[in-house]
Every structure is written in C-alpha cells, then in structure tokens.
C-alpha cells in the first residue's frame, strides 16, 4: 500500500529525518492560509499516488502569493495518469547544491532488505540502475541487526567528503531503516535527498518521500492501514478486494474468471496470443462459492469494455459443478447477456458440462479451446 508524500514526510519527521518546512492543503483557501506561515518561494506539489507528477505539471514554484494562488488553482483537480489531484503540499524551498538518492527495499535475490544509495539523485533510480549500474551502491542490511553505522559510513564516504555530512547520512539511513523494519515496509525512499547550506554548514534534507507498506503486514499496523486512500484506487479493484477476489483492471474486452493467479495470468497471455485482449486479471481463489462467482461476474460486466467472458477453472478441491451452478445463478441475478465461454476441468467436470448444456454458456474442453471460442464469440 502506497501513501502520499505528505504522509510519508510526517513519518520521516517522527523518526527525526529532516524535511522542508511544509504543510498540506485540500483547497485553495486552505492553501492561502497555510502559505502565511511559510516563507516564499514556496513549491506547490500535487499529491498523487503515481510517479511522474513533475512532467505532468504537478510541481510548480511560487515566488509570491499571486503565483501560489494560480499554481494551486491549476494543480488542484488536475488529472495525473488517471488520478485526480485532491490535495497539494506547500513546502519552503531550499537552495539545492546536489541531489542524492537513498532508499531501502527488499532484494529478492539476496533475500534481504538492502540500502540503495546513489549520487545520481532526483532522477528515476531504475533508469540509473540500468544505464549506469556503477553509480548505484547497494548494502545488504542484516535482518537481525538492522543497518549498522559502519555500513552507512562505508557508503557515506563514497558519496561525501565531509565527515559531518557522513554523520548526517548515517543518522538519516539509520532512521530510514527503523521506519522500514518498524512499519514492515516494502519500500522507503528519499529522492532527492538534497544537499544545501545553512549558515555555511552543509546539511542533508529529504525533499521528497515515498513509503510503500507490505500489504501482508498491515494487520500489525492499524494506524498505517488507516492511511489508505480508497478514493484514489480503481473502484472495481476496491470492490473486488471486499469480495476477497484478486482483480486487476486492464484495457481489453475479454473478461476472465480464473482460479489461481498463475492460471489467471496464463489465461490472459493465451487470449492475447490468439488475437484477443484480456480485460482483466481475476483470481477467484480456491473457493467455488456462488457469492464469489456472482461478485466476480458483476465486477467484470460493470466494465463496459468487456464484450465476452471466459471462465477457466481447474477444479481440484474446487468442484466444477459448484462453479457451473454459481455461474448460472450469477448470470440470472445480474442479468448478464454477454457471451460466456466456460472451460471447467477437473473434479465433477461431467456434471458441470451437463448443467450447462441447456444454458447459453458455451462449454470448452481445453484452455486453448476456450480462448479460441471466446474470441470467436466476440468477433462473431
């Protein structure tokens, strides 16, 4: 689960990671009132849960209250990658002398949390990693000890010449690690971590902030779970989550209902391979309850792009006749008239076939058969 920059910054401040002086505003009026306690120039930053707001014009610097007003007006309500901007962060600007990157994430290959640092901050770190991997410094964080000061020091002296800055860096990375472990994160990131001067002393400050939590661990952190912004999520995905379905909306026209994540992806791939376009990923899990089937069909068909549906079930514990019955019930209750192809194989597949004989549902024998039939139904 992602949270907004301003929320992440608040967590940073609680962990003694320095940030700019800043305030969140939900409206123009609020922005104007908030600006009174800040010193110009002020940067106005769109708060959205996707990257690329800068390029979209979601970050602008105001040198006075008039500019601020016009920036806030233009940013609030802006659409960035499908998300509407509903709040802006107003932050005092600093004179940035250099930009660094520092983040902590899980390295699957190393089976560990890692601290990633780079002198190439302010840029897309993934791109840096691909084009100039030598600019990326990676440190494995021992899971039982946490990040040790010497580890930050090893990195710090590669980034900075100044012992005070290294100590700054040690403190920031240590606190970042505490956030990562305390709150079960999958990512905490400062990009850019900016170098600036106050009274001739060089200091580091978090100019941006990103925190992503491990969904599986949110039950341990109810206060973090409460930060979830349901409004920013795809409504159909929210609905699916409620029904205990794993659903991801895509752009195609062939809806799919599958049991199992791997099989669901394979089904999408096969649709594409045979010239179709999958409308979604949907894993109904191990259960074959009619309620789940109904919720799945309802979510699928609410997507107006969907023109046909493929049901692909490998029944092991799941019984195919249960699925068939659930499907028929869902179609009736939800008044579904779309062409549906069902491929139900495994436990009680013959019973399922019999159940569907007199229905408008087309029965398919294999995955490939099902995919071909659903594409034919669509184009037919």
């Amino acid at each position: 689960m992602k949270i907004y920059e301003y929320q992440a910054k608040e967590i940073f401040r609680n962990y003694n990671i320095p940030t700019s002086k800043e305030k969140i505003a939900f409206s123009l009026d609020e922005a104007k009132s908030v600006a009174k306690n800040l010193t110009f120039p002020i940067v106005v930053k769109a708060q959205v849960l996707v990257g690329g707001r800068g390029k979209a014009g979601g970050v602008k610097i105001a040198k006075d209250i008039n500019e601020l007003e016009s920036h806030v007006k233009s940013i609030l309500g802006m659409n960035i990658k499908g998300l509407t901007v509903k709040k802006v962060l107003l932050a005092e600007t600093i004179k940035i002398e250099a930009e660094y990157y520092v983040g902590i994430t899980i390295d699957r290959e190393k089976q560990s949390a890692v601290l990633i640092s780079s002198a190439s901050g302010g840029m897309d770190i993934e791109q840096v990693a691909q084009t100039s991997p030598e600019k990326i410094l990676t440190i494995v964080i021992p899971s039982f000890l946490g990040l040790k000061p010497f580890q930050s020091r090893n990195v710090g002296y590669q980034l900075f010449n100044d012992a005070n800055l290294v100590n700054n860096f040690i403190s920031i990375t240590t606190n970042l690690t505490r956030i990562f472990f305390d709150l079960d994160c999958s990512l905490v990131e400062i990009n850019p971590l900016a170098l600036y001067s106050v009274n001739n002393e060089k200091k580091l400050i978090a100019v941006d902030a990103k925190i992503v939590f491990d969904d599986n661990a949110l039950f341990k952190h109810p206060d973090m779970a409460a930060l979830r912004d349901i409004e920013s999520e795809e409504p159909s995905e929210v609905q699916a989550k409620k029904a205990d379905l794993s659903y991801v909306k895509l752009d195609g026209d062939v809806g799919c209902v599958v049991n199992g994540a791997g099989l669901a992806m394979a089904t999408m791939d096969l649709i594409k391979r045979h010239g179709g376009n999958p409308a979604n990923f949907l894993d109904i899990g191990g259960s074959s309850s009619p309620e789940k089937m109904r919720a799945a069909m309802k979510i699928l068909t609410a997507d107006k792009n969907v023109k046909a549906v493929l049901v692909n079930i490998f029944g092991g514990i799941t019984r195919c006749d249960d699925v068939a019955q659930g499907l028929l019930w869902a179609m009736k209750e939800e008044n579904i008239a779309l062409p549906i192809v069902a491929r139900l194989v495994g436990t009680n597949q013959d019973k399922a076939k019999a159940l569907l004989t007199d229905s408008p549902i087309t029965f398919a024998e294999t995955m490939t058969d099902g995919v071909k039939k659903v594409i034919k139904a669509l184009k037919g």
Partner: protein
C-alpha cells in the same frame, strides 16, 4: 526415486484441527500419505480422523518420529509454526499458509541458514510424488507416477500443465509448488539440483511467472549443471508493471522481472519454451 517426499515420509500437520488442515489431512491420507500426527495447541490428546493431535511439534515428533511437516495455520501464526518445526529438527517443512509478511520471511531464511531443515513455501500448493506421497493441496487427479519432474511457483497452472503430461502417459516423478511469495525457502535451482540427481526424473518442467529473478538464476544453473532436458513456461506476458497479480511475488517492480526477460533467459539456456499448456505434450514427445 522421486525427490523430497516418498513412502518414508512421516507427516505432522500443523494446524490439523482447522478447516483446511482437517480437510486436507483426509485428502492426503486417502492418497496414501503417512500422516502420523497433528499439532494444535490446546487440542493435545484429541484426534482428527484417527490422527493423534499434540500440543507441540516436539511432542508430536517424540511420539511419532515425524520427519516432515505441513503448515496450515493462519499467516499470523505461521512464522512461529515454522520456527517450532525447525527447532524440533523436522527435515522438511511445507508451508501452505499464504500472507506471511515479507520481513518475517527474511528473518526465517536467515535463521534457517546452516540448519538441516528444508522449507518449501510459504504460499505453496505443496508437493506430490505420484503414487507415493502427497504433502499439500494438489488434486490427485492431475498426476500419475512417471518420469517428468515439475517445479512451479503456481498452483492451478501446475495442475493444468501436469494434467497434460499425465494424459500423454509420461507421468511425473515429483511435482513441487515452491510458492508464490517473493521470499521463499526453496527455489528453482534447489529443485533442479535434486531432479538432476534423481534417477526417476528424465525431463523437467519449470513453470515460472513474472517477478524476481528466480527463473534467470535457474537458467544460469541449467547452462552450467544440467544434462536432462528442461521445458519452461512463463505466466504473465500480458501483466502490467507495478501491479501485484494475485501472488505477492508476481509483480514487475521497477521494470524488473518481466516475462520477456525470463523467456529470453530460458531460450539462452536451451530450455524449450512452451507458450500454451497443452504444447507440453508435443514438446515432450520429441525427447521421450
């Protein structure tokens, strides 16, 4: 010979009195698995389908000589269940439980280093050595004793592909679900190594998916160490970036872990890539 589990497997079911635990205990016993004990704290002294229930794994092992364990307890309690089985020196732990926080798994794997216990999973469908033993939730009907080793990050997709192998008459030596989580105890390479050494196994099928680099590491390993023919399938070619596709581990994060990269790695390693599950039959027929 099969790998990991066979007729000598003596299984303890952790979380035997739960809904899934009791149901699959019955399924496994019907398949012929020697389920010797169950563990549910507080239920010690009772039994499930004639299987004695103990309060602790240690007790269960002392009384029944269990050497393997399957974990059905909810994610919240699963780490403690794993530690308990490791502490009791169980040889093989198969963790079915899904939803264990990633950092808990990182700790568990660090703890396991140097220990003799092997962990499969979490979020695994389990293991089956057809005709000999089943430790997991895989449906018996998809499998038959034979000569193809199958290792997979997925559940139903595995059944799907295995069922074609079964139908074609080749059958499987052992089928392993290594689990759909980002951090898991046993990976592709571990299984490939075992299959390479296993006499019963004549060919191997790897079923991968987007996320991580386990498939790439498998490809590297195959180039250097494998002589048996290997077939590969990768799910998620149409999956968008940064979206978790059901499994916690099936996510293209930071542009890494795409199906394209994995298929390329497979091809480079001389793995026969299949693009539709039913293709496996044809491809296998070329080498068997």
């Amino acid at each position: 010979m099969a790998i990991l589990i066979n007729e000598n497997t003596k299984l303890v079911v952790q979380g035997i009195t739960g809904r899934d635990g009791s149901f699959h205990t019955q399924q496994m016993m019907e398949y012929g698995t020697k389920v010797v004990a169950g563990v549910t704290p507080g239920k010690g002294g009772s039994d499930v389908n004639g299987v004695p229930v103990f309060n602790t794994v240690r007790q269960a092992k002392e009384e029944t000589y269990a050497n393997s364990s399957i974990i059905f307890v909810p994610a919240q309690f699963a780490p403690d269940a794993i530690y308990e089985a490791v502490d009791a020196e169980i040889d093989l732990i198969v963790c079915i439980a899904e939803g264990i926080p990633t950092l808990e798994m990182v700790k568990i794997l660090t703890f396991l280093k140097g220990k003799k216990t092997r962990l499969v999973g979490p979020n695994s469908a389990g293991i089956i050595s057809p005709g000999l033993c089943k430790v997991g939730i895989l449906p018996a009907l998809a499998f038959k004793k034979g000569k193809v080793g199958v290792v997979s990050r997925s559940g139903t997709l595995t059944y799907e592909i295995a069922s074609h192998i079964t139908k074609a008459g080749y059958g499987e030596s052992t089928v392993i679900g290594i689990g759909g989580d980002p951090i898991i105890g046993t990976n592709f390479v571990d299984c490939l190594q075992l299959f390479q050494a296993d006499k019963q196994t004549e060919a191997i099928v790897i079923i991968g998916e987007i996320g991580g680099t386990d498939e790439e590491k498998a490809a590297d390993f195959i180039i250097k160490n494998m002589t048996k023919p290997v077939f590969g399938f990768i799910a998620g070619q149409t999956a968008p970036a940064d979206k978790r596709m059901g499994h916690a581990g099936a996510i293209i994060a930071g542009g890494k872990g795409t199906a394209k990269e994995k298929i390329q790695a497979f091809e480079k390693a001389g793995i026969t890539v299949i693009y539709e599950p039913e293709e496996i039959t044809d491809k296998l027929s070329k080498v068997m």
